[in-house]
């Protein structure tokens, strides 16, 4: 139902998420933002079960901020991703696991851009591109075919548009608009919301 996608370039990460907040067959909101800002250069994209997403993502968000307040410097994207995964793993075999799928995208001043894929079974993988949701089945092959490690920003946005075109063409559900953001050494930038042609 929900869709997340991330594409890493040589010095940036491009991420996009759909804007639908659904409840059974209804779209309750058309402009819902699924990205959570963990720090100036880290975004957490979170989809999954209704309450779990916000609860878990806000918990991670506040803890990352707390780390910065206590220690005076921010967690790196890799550390934040591992911290997130650890929390997922701790709750996995409890009575109340968090059923969430995540993408963490960030820019480290030392290591450069990074995209981390995490799922509800608390696996963690650093990947050049990744997607979550049923839409991933349709778009991962497009990413496999056209991705290059030296993409420019425009090429990455074009690749993203190709993926969304495919969703509009073949995906049974209507995902009318997508929030798009780009992270680079300057921080997080909002790009133009991508909407499907049909209104």
């Amino acid at each position: 139902m929900e869709y997340l996608i991330g594409i890493q370039g040589p010095d940036f990460v491009l991420v996009a998420a759909d804007n639908v907040a659904a409840s059974s067959i209804l779209q309750m909101k058309h402009d819902y933002d699924k990205m959570f800002k963990l720090s100036e250069k880290i975004l957490l994209l979170c989809v999954g079960e209704a309450g779990d997403t916000v609860q878990f993502a806000e918990y991670i968000q506040k803890n990352v901020q707390l780390y910065k307040m206590r220690n005076g410097y921010e967690l790196s994207p890799s550390a934040a991703a591992n911290f997130t995964r650890k929390n997922l793993a701790d709750y996995l075999r409890s009575r109340t696991p968090y059923h969430v799928n995540l993408l963490l995208a960030g820019y480290d001043d030392a290591d450069g851009p990074g995209l981390y894929y995490m799922d509800h079974l608390s696996s963690l993988a650093k990947a050049p591109f990744a997607a979550h949701g049923y839409g991933a089945f349709l778009t991962l092959s497009i990413l496999d075919q056209h991705y290059r490690p030296d993409l420019t920003r425009e090429e990455a946005v074009d690749l993203l548009k190709k993926c969304i075109e495919e969703l509009n063409k073949r995906f049974i559900l209507n995902l009318p608009s997508f929030t798009v953001r780009l992270i680079d050494k300057e921080g997080i930038h909002d790009l133009e919301t991508l909407t499907s042609g049909a209104k």
Binding site: K29, Q55, T96
Partner: protein
């Protein structure tokens, strides 16, 4: 609370351990409650006192609740650990809706659902299980009033929604079924984005959504069908009221589980006014103070 006496909480073995007069201060894990209402995020912490609400309120009953309470109980706990079967299949269905427009917020529902004022600028429409909604509305009203007394200002609607969502979180996965739409008007001190009409949907699954129009209940798709076509920001008050009535009426016609008449509340900066449409000719009015 009087409700706890009726529900027999005072008879439960765990009741004694959570009250200040109790001699047994149990160090077994429990859910920690502070003045800031930081309800433990599913992680039980040591108890240090209570905020006046009996702690076992926030411990959902489990099939094997005996294993949950490690403390040896003075009386056999068998009757509290057995699952209570429903006497008959409960059918619940309603249509509730709320939307924001230039003249404030309209909250409407069929009379089977209920719309309850929490305070002069907040009204809650409920759907799901009637008993659960009634209980949680009372708890919410109490917590908001306590916040107002402690902090000398009214909690914002967003804060109220977050508080309710966090209170419902321990019961996720149990049979608690609560879907409330908070419709209210924030009186901000400054003209910030926080003040003005607000509409927030909170449900026991954990969802908390702020928006401009929500319809909840079994009749909600039918209501959306009417609302989505005609709803505009610039509606006049009479048009908005008539649109809300039309939407609920169409839903009660098509949905087997909605019916009776339409209750409607209009919230403005001055407070809420209720309209009960039980007669063809006119409406009964209710006003807040």
């Amino acid at each position: 609370m009087a409700l706890e006496d009726i529900c027999g909480f005072t008879d439960t073995p765990v009741h004694a351990k959570w009250f200040p007069t109790s001699l047994f201060e149990d160090s077994i894990s429990s859910i920690h409650l502070t003045d800031n209402c930081t309800f433990g995020l599913r992680k039980p912490k040591k108890s240090e006192g209570n905020g006046g609400i009996p702690m076992d309120f926030f411990i959902p009953t489990l099939p094997n609740s005996a294993s949950f309470n490690h403390r040896p109980l003075p009386s056999p706990p068998a009757k509290y650990s057995a699952m209570v079967r429903r006497p008959f299949p409960l059918s619940h269905g309603t249509t509730t809706l709320g939307f924001v427009f230039q003249g404030g917020v309209i909250a409407a529902a069929d009379t089977r659902a209920s719309i309850t004022p929490i305070h002069s600028h907040l009204v809650v429409t409920s759907s799901g299980s009637g008993a659960d909604c009634m209980l949680w509305e009372r708890i919410l009203a109490r917590e908001i009033r306590l916040y107002q007394l402690r902090h000398r200002r009214r909690l914002s609607i967003c804060g109220t929604a977050k508080l309710l969502s966090f209170m419902l979180h321990p019961f996720k996965g149990t049979e608690v079924c609560v879907a409330l739409t908070l419709c209210g008007w924030d009186k901000g001190v400054t003209a910030s984005t926080n003040s003005g009409p607000k509409l927030i949907y909170v449900c026991s699954d954990g969802a908390r959504l702020q928006g401009d129009v929500f319809s909840v209940g079994s009749g909600s798709p039918y209501a959306y069908g009417v609302l989505d076509r005609e709803l505009r920001w610039c509606l006049s008050k009479e048009e908005a009221i008539s649109l809300a009535r039309e939407a609920v009426f169409r839903a009660t016609h098509r949905d087997a589980y909605s019916g009776n008449n339409v209750d409607l509340f209009h919230i403005t900066a001055q407070g809420w006014i209720g309209y009960m449409y039980y007669y063809r000719t006119g409406a009964l009015f209710l006003c807040c103070l």
